[in-house]
Symmetry: C2
Subunit: 374 residues, 2 copies
Amino acid sequence: MVYKNKESMGRVTTHTVSISKARRTMAASLDEIVHNSRAVTDGLKKMYISKIKPLEKKYLFDEFHSPLLSEADFDAKPTVLMIGQYSVGKTSFIEYLLGQKFPGARVGPEPTTDRFMAVMYGDEERIVPGNALAVSPDLPYGGLSMFGTSFLNKFEASQVPCKQLEHMTVIDTPGILSGEKQRISRGYDFVQVAKWFAERADMILLLFDAHKLDISDEFQRVIEVLKGHDDKIRCVLNKSDQIDQQKLMRVYGALMWSMGKVMKTPEVMRVFIGSFWDQPLLFNDNAALFEKERSDLMSELRKLPHNAAIRKVNELVKRVRLAKVHAYLIGHLRDQMPMMIGKDRKQQELIATLPQVFREVQKKYNLPPGDFPS
Amino acid sequence: MVYKNKESMGRVTTHTVSISKARRTMAASLDEIVHNSRAVTDGLKKMYISKIKPLEKKYLFDEFHSPLLSEADFDAKPTVLMIGQYSVGKTSFIEYLLGQKFPGARVGPEPTTDRFMAVMYGDEERIVPGNALAVSPDLPYGGLSMFGTSFLNKFEASQVPCKQLEHMTVIDTPGILSGEKQRISRGYDFVQVAKWFAERADMILLLFDAHKLDISDEFQRVIEVLKGHDDKIRCVLNKSDQIDQQKLMRVYGALMWSMGKVMKTPEVMRVFIGSFWDQPLLFNDNAALFEKERSDLMSELRKLPHNAAIRKVNELVKRVRLAKVHAYLIGHLRDQMPMMIGKDRKQQELIATLPQVFREVQKKYNLPPGDFPS
């Protein structure tokens, strides 16, 4: 421990001070970004409700693709999904982000968080159970009903009157266990629920513990269902202050080695290295590095409302392209159907020649072939 | 640059002092290891020449598998093969290991080393050209003749009267270039030559440059032919002092990410991080880490003669298993051949039914199926 001198002790204090300072700066510059982002999403919402939704309804888009969007889907705040083995520090990480505790949070070395918990803004502290959340029209959790009561019993929201949560919601998840006990004990499909949240999240934080790095089979399966969302994934190598610099390099290297194998992208995943909780560092070797990493992570979180707005535009454009092709297809098929008799036979015939129908419609309306169902 | 204070300046001096101290310690403790290792290889050599070589000769093992072993193959010193893009610091690294310059070495930012160079012990400094090396009976380079004169013109030995080289030979290689120019300009198959050396090396050091990390296609092909030798490969992230700590983490992570994809092993490759030449560090952020890494690398090199002896035992056992099966097979086939006429027809017949012949011989002499040619 070469650095245990006055200078480094000073740095520990600086560490704690700069956290609260950074939180203040973050909150201030957020306001403008949030204002602009909200204008964008409001515009999208109006456009969807007046122009696109009627079309989707007419051509039964929701029966073929995905449910009609509700106002809550547009109003939903940017979401950060936290995923990691049990006891990696997910709940402590959220408390660190918020600068305060939240109701229902339990922290400990054994698996403590046994439920999905949406940590969100509320005027007063309270817990809202999952079944109530799923039917609440101004929350985007209606879709979770499909995972049944056994899941909804393990889902709740923790509402906190906290400045940070005005612009984002954080999803805490039960720690991933290793082996079969995961599947048996939960009573619902953890991986599929994680996937549902991942599709709707704006950032997915994978947390790893620097002093016991292990990627279980279950974790690997979760990472695999995240594959379409590579651009949203960030890693956090947490508790990095509990080992010395050389060990940290080894652990970090091992993490990159395994993640490189699991993720098929050539782009290297961003890993934030640090110790994300309000405690002084154990080893001070890397204090300067942790400070830089913390600041980088905070600036990514600051960009969240901005990126979320862009993502919503992108998703809606994608949806409109699909809905357009869908409408032309259904319209074309309806035109082919006889008025009175022979409906069944014609239907069979059209289904059998669907690829040819696709080509006809594509040619007739000059649509891009990539937008057709495959 | 937080650490640019008196303490870190002191550490730079310590860095340089500890290098020469470590070199002395290494040389001293080497003597015993080398003594034991030599006893082992001498025993192996006698055994091979008296018992195995006659059998291999009788059953033409060399025509089917690999050339008969010469005394030089046993006497050859442990070999370290250096591989890396051009200008990554391979030649400087060797000078650093030896603690001195060697004849023929050229160092610079452009591709300088344009040949394979065996840096080995000699009573006086001199260069020996490749064609001479290939026919020298006490050197293990006879096999290189198969790459032809165009290669042998680009191969030479640099002999130096240097304590370190009494127990190991280092192979410097031309820097790997990117793109097609590699293959066109060399006039020989770089990848195959690298493979030849890799098979005979006791350690393969892959050098990477921390301030311009790039794994070209050619480099990737080289890494792929090294695949059977994963256990011998070590990486060096060189010039790590030229960037700050956070950048170093990113580069190191990117290296592990790509190597994890290329290498199929779950075991994480050991990467030594540092700046391996006799110059003071540029950034001092990681001085303590570099010192530990340097010391780890040196201790791996110290174990080289020991590991080389074990490897030779292992290789010879492998060869004897092959030679035994080969002898039984050839013996069996010879027994089947008619004395006078119909030789050709019988030969055709035996070749056509080889898998069955294998099974017969395996059963008759109770040999392990894994030792048969596939």
